[in-house]
Point group: C2
Chain length 139, copies 2
């Protein structure tokens, strides 16, 4: 939570219970939830929170770099605490999303390669792999 509080202060954002709750939920639940899922799961502890506040909070967290927004081809965005750069691998049967952490030099080498071949200054990337997870393969 220290990271959150520091980061909020650095961005001139106030520390509110709603922001703490949402960040805390994401921090402890790496299921890449949608705004709706976050809302449903936190309203038990925080019955007065609104879905609009969840969206507004996610926007603040995203803008200050604490959370990343991902889209795997569904109707809605999903959210993820950004600790270190990583990719996502999606099971097309059960729709679960699993983090995948490639080594740094692997990513750097790909970005360098792309930058060289396209003349873009590449600053970030998103990599999604689709397939079937171990559990779904066995059932």
């Amino acid at each position: 939570m220290k990271i959150l509080i520091e980061n909020l202060k650095n961005n001139n954002l106030k520390v509110t219970p709603q922001r703490l709750t949402i960040y805390n939920y994401l921090y402890h639940n790496h299921i890449h939830p949608s705004a709706e899922t976050i809302y449903n799961n936190i309203k038990e502890q925080n019955p007065t929170i609104s879905l609009a506040t969840v969206y507004k909070t996610l926007k603040s967290l995203k803008d200050s770099g604490l959370v990343q927004e991902i889209n795997v081809g569904e109707d809605s965005f999903r959210y993820d605490v950004q600790i270190t750069p990583h990719s996502h691998i999606i099971c097309t049967k059960c729709n679960s999303i699993v983090d995948y952490f490639p080594e740094d030099n692997f990513i750097d080498s790909i970005q360098d390669k792309v930058a060289k071949e396209t003349n873009f200054q590449v600053t970030s990337h998103q990599m999604y792999f689709y397939g079937t997870c171990k559990d779904c393969l066995n059932s």
Copy 2:
């Protein structure tokens, strides 16, 4: 257009002027347009077409494998004639999307690596690179 007509027949879909127009537009305009953009650009030649038809057609083309749907983090999907597998590189200043074709063995090696390390059976992927294009760097 031969590809389209053959493919439609193989999928028991009828060849209609609307489908020809939309596929033709995508085939000649590799700007990765949204449904709305497609609609706006083809309605000059086809004044009676509706946006709903554009969506329905894109769904048919997607299901029969002629078109791919991509999402780069905007509110809407964008569409792309799928010729060979490729990645996308997005300029965050001008929002243009450029195709990037890595060598086959490069992709295969990444997918193999991911599959091995995650125990997923990986069937496909989407790779998006974000940065600044040559033109925007020079202005």
